[in-house]
Symmetry: C2
Subunit: 545 residues, 2 copies
């Protein structure tokens, strides 16, 4: 079909190249140039661009199911995506024009056919770690064809297709004949948001899920509760949010909210992995669940303050059993994140009952053994819910016995090369976050720092490297809420997105700057306040404040 | 009137105290407490709070002109302010209730009378460096009285009054009997916004002017053009923005836009001081004004690039005369900022005509003399427009002859103590910005750093210190635009606001944290995305994304 066309690389005439300067000025030199790859972000694995440009008009262009597709009009996931991408490309108001009997121009693209090639499209399923996200996109006259084994690849292909559109000098939409074959380098590409330090309104979560999809992220790691607040409304233990949320009505996620988030994410190929971090980071749990936390002592008397989850009471494990049974039904994903980080032993050490228990168990003064004792029992509980689990690296470091399919989440250290070596040498799947703590901000273009990370840059065999299933950009919530989260996340997280999706050799920082500059303006045009990389402008500036 | 009441300090029961924790956790300890000064920000000079609380209801409360006031219903500035503050306090929907014949409750406040005491209220004037901004506020049953010599003080008093309101546990609005006597420590309290590195939509500028008023800032330093773009649409030289703006239609400020900004600011007691920085920072000027900039040379040939304004041509001064004549009529403020910073001599040095001129003038190789030659002529031009001028510190450092009423803007150095000493020793008014470059961001609570600055902490006599007329928080535009400017500015700039308004001894950082936490939630409730100080919540979270 496309063999007859000669594809050559070319400079796409972007509709919104920045004005070029002929003056000397250090600052002005930051202005971006057009990349030969236009505004594709993250860069697909294989791209062949031609110079043949085709017109695309809102009144004749359609996105349709291919006749051979295993997903038809009943696949609401795809139908919703068609509507969404049509809007991104042409705006929501469908223009009137000489429709029905108008012949397509010789150089016009009138259709994008979406063809799900596998018998099971997975249209009504949930995305998973093992989902096939690949797709092939061929843009040619008179129709473009998007082939993907599953709907997940089709979603990515639709985004890529929308990124190929550009405006010519008359404001008309164009697309060049293009062939793309694409798949992710890593299957786990996540964003961590923290709804405990600050409550994040549902609207903010949904807007960021939407933006994640534009960047081909596929995991929303929902750090939903922590010391500061417990906004998750549990059906089994409603007192947890009743007492532990910042406000029991205005600052909670109801079961309906959670369901909506999960479905919104599913429609965009995004998994929702909730984190319920124990035994530390649980101050807010204690307010609604009596005796769950360890009473701290001053000398021989309880001080009135509380420490981590109390690991020596049977009631603790009864609670966890019921709680995680609920979680396993509320969240459909195959994994739950169990935390396990930063356990402070001070309170445990102060408590005489804990001391006695340590003695009975023969733990000596090694409180890591007590921590492991707790985690081991918790993992057994969660295993009975048929879920896999992810844990922060301390759990692995402390030698807790883990199931072979456990995912170890590396977060300590700047490069964490050693930790990655250790975890993969032990045979565990691992995800990397240590270089991607986006809550740490600094002046100027820190996206470049995130972009330059190479996740497999550690000592290890090829087999070890295969155990790195991806990474996550973490935006912890101490200093972000609805007022500043979105511009702080985007486009900084986009740098991580390309690192996790594109080929290892996509490392040209100048080309990345050029593509990302336009990609960020596209996010702005779609209504998301993605902050600027440097002095510049967008043809359509953000409309909010 | 109020002598009969005993005023004692008390802990105001804030409607939105954060839930208090009884647990030990370092992070949780950041939660704020109620300040005895409630959420007053910036803290007035004298505050006496009583324990007597009065109800305030939307259906019976009114803000009215006092009978003795020199400003009546024809003073639209005050009438607009009454409407605005009524909305802030009660929301825009006026509630129905048992109005007319309902007797006021014994413990109800039904009126705030605003009394302009000076014969000339300045209602139709513009605020100025010498404006009287003082006010006295007495809240007592059955009416509160706000006395101010001029409307400018009344505006500040209205803001303060609105900050005294709080909700009790039933959601009812209350205010405590209070006496406040207030005036600013410094008369120049500014914010610099930069609309050249990124174009700032008018909506963003207006929203931030509004927020400035809530923080009692009174100068908008509009760094309107620079190297990157020239968005100011000049009636005299329309080619400047036609060629030099990012876009000649969508990214310019029309005369109507500028007029609107100035009037919006005036209604809030804010001066608009435009900056047209020359001879450096002018790359964008050169695109629409032939021969204005110096042609740079490579060897004996023009390189095609351009440097600073060409100081050796008569046409340059003809242009500046016409241009600043226009500026002096468009901007009513008594001052214009003429820039004069960061002049790079490389291009001047390369140009043979400049070299010849240097020789003729006997400047030797001292290009600072050439810079001063230019600035001197510019200052003379601007003097004929009857404007005062502000210049960046380099102009002073280079020994340019300045009018006695020149304001020197100090921006170099971390504390800039030496520079402040030098400038004031020379007898010039000075404004401080070097510690308040808010474009530089860092992790965690950098507002504290801005708050801890003491502007008069330099070696000098009392007379020298009197020459410090204030300061400005500068948010340069390389990394901010409509997407992130507002949360990056607030509440960080609020720290500068209190430093410039309140008494020198207001330095308690914990009390500041407590008041500022609530002040920032008030800004959020009024629709501005002011970012959080730390883990916490607002009763009304930001509704946008």
């Amino acid at each position: 079909m496309t063999a007859a066309l000669k594809f050559t690389a070319l400079f796409l005439t972007l509709g919104f190249c920045q004005a070029q300067y002929n003056y000397i000025d250090e600052e002005v030199e930051g202005a971006f140039q057009a990349s030969k790859y236009g505004s594709l972000w993250p860069l697909p694995q294989k791209v062949q661009l031609s110079q043949v440009s085709l017109k695309v008009t809102s009144f004749s262009f359609r996105i349709v199911d291919s006749k051979e597709s295993s997903a038809g009009p009943s696949c609401t996931l795809l139908q919703s995506a068609y509507r969404r991408y049509y809007e991104y490309m042409f705006g929501s108001a469908k223009k009137q024009g000489p429709t029905k009997n108008r012949r397509a121009d010789l150089s016009e693209l009138t259709e994008l056919q979406v063809w799900i090639t596998s018998p099971d499209s997975e249209c009504d399923g949930y995305p998973a770690l093992t989902s096939d996200e690949s797709y092939e996109l061929s843009v040619d006259q008179p129709v473009a064809v998007l082939k993907a084994p599953k709907v997940w690849g089709a979603l990515h292909g639709l985004e890529t297709f929308s990124q190929l559109l550009y405006e010519d000098e008359f404001g008309a939409k164009n697309i060049n004949s293009t062939m793309i074959s694409d798949f992710p380098r890593f299957p786990h590409r996540g964003i961590l948001l923290d709804s405990s330090r600050h409550f994040l309104p549902i609207k903010v979560i949904l807007a960021n899920l939407e933006t994640m999809a534009w960047n081909k992220f596929n995991v929303f790691h929902w750090h939903i509760v922590d010391d500061q607040s417990f906004p998750y409304l549990s059906r089994t233990f409603p007192q947890l949010s009743q007492q532990g949320a910042y406000h029991p009505y205005t600052h909670v996620y109801t079961p309906a909210d959670v369901k909506m988030v999960i479905e919104f994410a599913r429609l965009r190929g995004i998994r929702v992995v909730p984190e319920f971090d124990t035994p530390g980071h649980t101050q807010s749990w204690g307010k609604g669940q009596k005796d769950l936390l360890t009473p701290c002592y001053t000398g021989s008397k309880p001080s009135g303050t509380f420490g981590p989850v109390n690991p020596i009471l049977n009631t603790t494990y009864d609670f966890m059993t019921q709680f995680f049974k609920e979680i396993s039904t509320v969240f459909p994903d195959g994994y739950v994140h169990l935390g396990g980080d930063e356990v402070d032993f001070t309170c445990w050490k102060s408590n005489p009952d804990i001391q006695k228990f340590m003695e009975q168990q023969g733990f000596g003064q090694d409180y890591k053994k007590l921590e492991s004792f707790y985690i081991q029992k918790l993992l057994d509980i969660v295993t009975t819910t048929k879920k896999g689990y992810t844990i922060w690296q301390e759990v692995f470091d402390n030698g807790v016995k883990l199931k072979p399919d456990t995912v170890v989440h590396v977060w300590i250290g700047s490069g964490s090369n050693q930790e990655m070596s250790k975890v993969t040498a032990a045979g565990y799947n691992t995800i990397l976050s240590s270089p991607w703590y986006l809550d740490y901000i600094s002046y100027a273009q820190d996206w470049q720092k995130y972009y330059r990370v190479e996740p497999l840059n550690f000592n290890g065999t090829e087999d070890q490297k295969k155990l790195v299933i991806g990474g996550e950009a973490c935006l912890w919530g101490e200093y972000v809420d609805a007022t500043n989260l979105t511009p702080r996340l985007w486009p900084r997280a986009s740098a991580v997105a390309e690192r996790l999706w594109s080929s290892k050799d996509v490392t040209d920082i100048d080309d990345a700057f050029n593509r990302l500059s336009v990609h960020r303006c596209r996010m702005v045009a779609r209504g998301i306040p993605a902050e600027p990389l440097f002095s510049s402008f967008c043809p359509r500036e953000y409309k909010g404040i």
